[in-house]
């Protein structure tokens, strides 16, 4: 049975966010081996995926839906520039609306419905109480800019990449829960530019191969990969913009609070070709799980210990773990005594 969205919890201030047992069970644990290193870990995202998993549908709607949509609204009110779309991306934004409304109304008919009368579309989102009729492709008929309108109805960040000159450009996005990257600064960058700060992977040729793969994605054949980092508290908005608000969290970890305060943050990244604009929809769906919840699965607990123990120092630094990484290894050791 699918978990229904629960009442709003917070990702800031008092951090009331929790995962149910079902949410823990379906958490996309990202480590297939005991050691982690960058690889071109891209695979086909064949839909529908296994029932009940985060891979079942193109847009995964789970128990945190209302909480994440409320959080997104707060971020955008604080800083409207967390959503931007360059003028040439208008068609791609409508591609996104089409893809999201079409799949969500099919995948979750109890929550969403879409009726089409030629270009006159009627969309209902019963979870958020939205009911709008608009002309497809005409941004003036929507109550908000196209990307913001739809982006505020799907969980996870959305970037839309323009494809030209055999490259991908970050020309539109709604990014309110990034793992420490700024849409306002990275806007307009090519694939290799916006990955500029990532250590080790350039030298390993990862981005060159990934770009070749991504520019060749055809319509209707989405691909996915998992990415991960650690976050202190269940904080969705770990953007550089707000880093002054959350930087000190990293200095607040003690052996007593480490299980409750350190979260594994996993991004399910899906890339999907847009048929009208030839853009690539890049959705970054973030899942958070506390160490205490993670170690309820003994296999995950063991592996997490081994991953942390063998993580290259460049990645410890890049992912911002330096201040508590040794303490975390020590704490995880209790679940992996033989190692």
């Amino acid at each position: 049975m699918r978990v229904a969205p629960k009442p709003i919890q917070t990702f800031r201030d008092d951090f009331t966010y929790t995962n149910s047992d079902d949410a823990i069970k379906r958490f996309p644990f990202p480590f297939p081996e005991d050691e982690y290193m960058y690889s071109v870990n891209i695979e086909p995202h064949a839909l529908p995926g296994p029932e009940g998993t985060v891979y079942e549908h193109l847009f995964d709607i789970d128990e945190h839906y209302l909480s994440e949509m409320a959080e997104r609204k707060i971020v955008l009110e604080e800083n409207p520039q967390r959503c931007l779309a360059m003028p040439h991306m208008d068609l791609a934004c409508w591609d996104f609306i089409d893809r999201a409304m079409t799949t969500m109304s099919q995948d979750y008919p109890e929550y969403f419905s879409l009726q089409k009368d030629g270009d006159l579309w009627t969309w209902e989102n019963r979870l958020l109480g939205i009911h709008d009729t608009f002309t497809f492709g005409d941004s003036d008929t929507l109550p908000q800019p196209a990307l913001e309108y739809m982006g505020c109805q799907v969980q996870g960040d959305i970037a839309i990449l323009d494809q030209r000159e055999n490259d991908l450009f970050l020309d539109a996005g709604i990014v309110t829960c990034p793992a420490d990257w700024s849409l306002a600064f990275d806007a307009g960058m090519s694939f290799s530019e916006w990955h500029g700060p990532v250590p080790l992977a350039h030298e390993a040729g990862i981005f060159e191969r990934a770009l070749k793969y991504l520019t060749a994605i055809p319509v209707g054949r989405p691909v996915r990969r998992l990415n991960w980092t650690l976050t202190i508290n269940a904080r969705m908005d770990t953007s550089p913009e707000t880093y002054p608000n959350w930087g000190t969290d990293r200095d607040s970890i003690t052996p007593e609070n480490i299980g409750a305060k350190v979260y594994l943050r996993v991004e399910l990244q899906v890339l999907d070709r847009m048929p009208r604009s030839n853009g690539l929809l890049f959705s970054i769906r973030t899942y958070l799980i506390s160490m205490n919840d993670l170690v309820t699965n003994p296999e995950w607990a063991k592996r997490m210990h081994r991953i942390m123990k063998t993580l290259p120092p460049e990645l410890v630094e890049y992912k911002g773990l330096s201040r508590y990484h040794p303490m975390l290894i020590k704490w995880l050791k209790q679940f992996d005594l033989e190692n």
Partner: protein, 188 residues
């Protein structure tokens, strides 16, 4: 000699040569930067013109060279670039790296291909800085950490570069521990 940057968004400037097969050559220099272009300008046998952004300086400048001030070059170059024949090259020399990329952006917007835009290594280490916290842009930054004039936060000046903003990104250096302030360092 420029070292290979570890952050891949940081621009690398390759040596520039004149392609004599190209029909029209447009040379643009920030005030004081023309000397880096003068050999190329002299070697160029094709149809050529030269623009200086700023005032006349002590530099030896070619005859018939045009002057334009920093406030009006955007519009003027926008129009100029749009009228260039398809077989054209642009050569840009700047004291400041931000100048070079501001012109580059205008040229791209006017429809020039990246390979038509030849950029010389900027002459100074001055950077335009984008504060990632308050989005303030600051010109002429030469050391790190640097206090943002917008939000007063002490910023680590990174090598991550945006061609859209012609700027490097700055991120608060002591956000995790207010007392953790490294000594000032000159930027490369």
């Amino acid at each position: 000699m420029q070292t290979v940057p570890t952050i891949k968004s940081r621009p690398v400037y390759s040596p520039v040569e004149i392609d004599q097969a190209v029909q029209q050559h447009l040379f643009i220099a920030e005030e004081g930067a023309f000397p880096t272009l003068s050999d190329l300008y002299q070697d160029c046998e094709g149809e050529k013109s030269c623009w200086i952004v700023g005032q006349e300086s002590a530099d030896k400048l070619p005859k018939g060279c045009h002057f334009i001030d920093a406030q009006s070059f955007e519009e003027a170059f926008g129009e100029l670039f749009a009228k260039l024949p398809i077989s054209s090259n642009l050569y840009i020399a700047g004291i400041r790296e931000a100048f070079v990329w501001d012109i580059h952006k205008l040229a791209i917007q006017a429809g020039l291909a990246p390979e038509q835009i030849k950029k010389l290594q900027p002459l100074s280490n001055e950077r335009r800085l984008f504060c990632t916290h308050c989005y303030t842009l600051t010109e002429g930054v030469t050391y790190t950490p640097f206090e943002c004039p917008g939000c007063k936060r002490l910023l680590l000046v990174r090598d991550h570069f945006s061609r859209l903003h012609s700027a490097y990104v700055g991120v608060q250096i002591n956000a995790e521990d207010p007392n953790d302030i490294p000594p000032k360092e000159e930027l490369s």
